[in-house]
């Protein structure tokens, strides 16, 4: 119940901030009308509650953000070059066994992965935590494995920045991998 209230409060604050940003000025009138609107919107259009167990750690979050910006620059340059370059490139579709078991973290990971390292999330098997990704350009099998490692490194950074203690413990404990999914990543 308390978690639900906290979540509602965060959503309200976010809506009020967006309202004020849209007006471009912070004033009492904007603040009050924003609060009224936010309450009306959340009451009329309630969202399902997302279980949040994580917490925010500033230093790992900064590390995640920094890597994200660099990755965004690199992958944009890569895709631009592919668009200009003559000839065809080879793509790949891979599946990666993730270790995180939190809806919110998986969402962050999927968003970040779609934006950065030459990958695009195709599908996510929530039960088995297997993510299917399309890689825009791969040179050979070794490159595919490097990309797979990149995905896991991204998961690592996200979980260390926003995950709970259990989420982080799961990163280091391979026993949570279910045996029948282990072969999925390999041919």
């Amino acid at each position: 119940m308390r978690a639900r209230l906290r979540q509602q409060a965060l959503l309200l604050v976010w809506l009020v901030v967006v309202w004020n940003l849209l007006w471009g000025t912070f004033s009492w009138a904007n603040l009050i009308s924003g609060v009224v609107l936010a309450v009306v919107v959340t009451t009329l259009l309630p969202l399902p509650s997302v279980p949040t167990s994580g917490r925010f750690r500033p230093l790992p979050a900064l590390r995640f953000l920094g890597t994200f910006v660099v990755d965004l620059l690199v992958s944009s340059a890569e895709v631009s070059w592919l668009a200009f370059r003559p000839g065809r490139h080879r793509s790949a579709i891979i599946t990666v066994q993730l270790r995180t078991d939190s809806d919110l973290l998986l969402t962050v990971i999927a968003e970040a992965l779609s934006l950065v390292p030459g990958s695009l999330v195709l599908d996510l098997d929530r039960e088995r935590r297997v993510m299917a990704l399309h890689l825009v350009q791969v040179r050979d099998a070794a490159h595919v494995e490097r990309q797979r490692a990149n995905v896991l490194a991204m998961e690592d950074r996200v979980v260390r920045a926003f995950g709970s203690a259990e989420d982080i413990a799961r990163l280091d404990d391979p026993s949570t991998e279910t045996p029948e999914t282990e072969g999925v990543g390999r041919r």
Partner: protein, 135 residues
């Protein structure tokens, strides 16, 4: 011309250039999945750079905050739409399989994604699957 003007111009030109390459990618890439890459990476960075340039030029005006919102929502929504489009494209088999180096999702014998049963997968396929027979 002040230093801020130079930075703003560089951001605007670079951002426009990235948006141009995104458009070029949309035309030149061979299939939907590749095109979605063009629609996410250079496109998002391009919009972000254009917004940055505009913010620097328009500092002090209320409209600046709206540009910040544009950037934030671009980051949040571009991956979601790209994912949805590419997921549908994959399920409808609009994929150039001859250009794939590996396809671990389509390996016969492995269970399909998202807990889908064999019946689900069949229902997703078009009645005439020319790509399917080619494998």
């Amino acid at each position: 011309m002040s230093a801020a003007d130079v930075v703003a111009s560089v951001c605007l030109v670079a951002g426009s250039f990235l948006c141009l390459t995104a458009g070029l990618g949309l035309v030149r890439f061979p299939d939907v999945l590749n095109r979605m890459h063009a629609a996410t990476k250079p496109q998002v960075l391009g919009v972000l750079l254009v917004m940055t340039g505009a913010v620097i030029r328009l500092t002090g005006q209320p409209v600046v905050w709206m540009l910040v919102l544009v950037g934030v929502f671009q980051l949040l929504t571009a991956p979601v739409s790209a994912h949805l489009v590419s997921r549908v494209a994959y399920r409808r088999r609009h994929v150039r399989r001859d250009l794939l180096l590996v396809d671990e999702l389509g390996v016969p014998g492995t269970p399909g994604p998202a807990g889908s049963t064999a019946a689900d997968t069949r229902a997703d396929e078009p009645a005439d699957g020319p790509e399917r027979t080619g494998r």
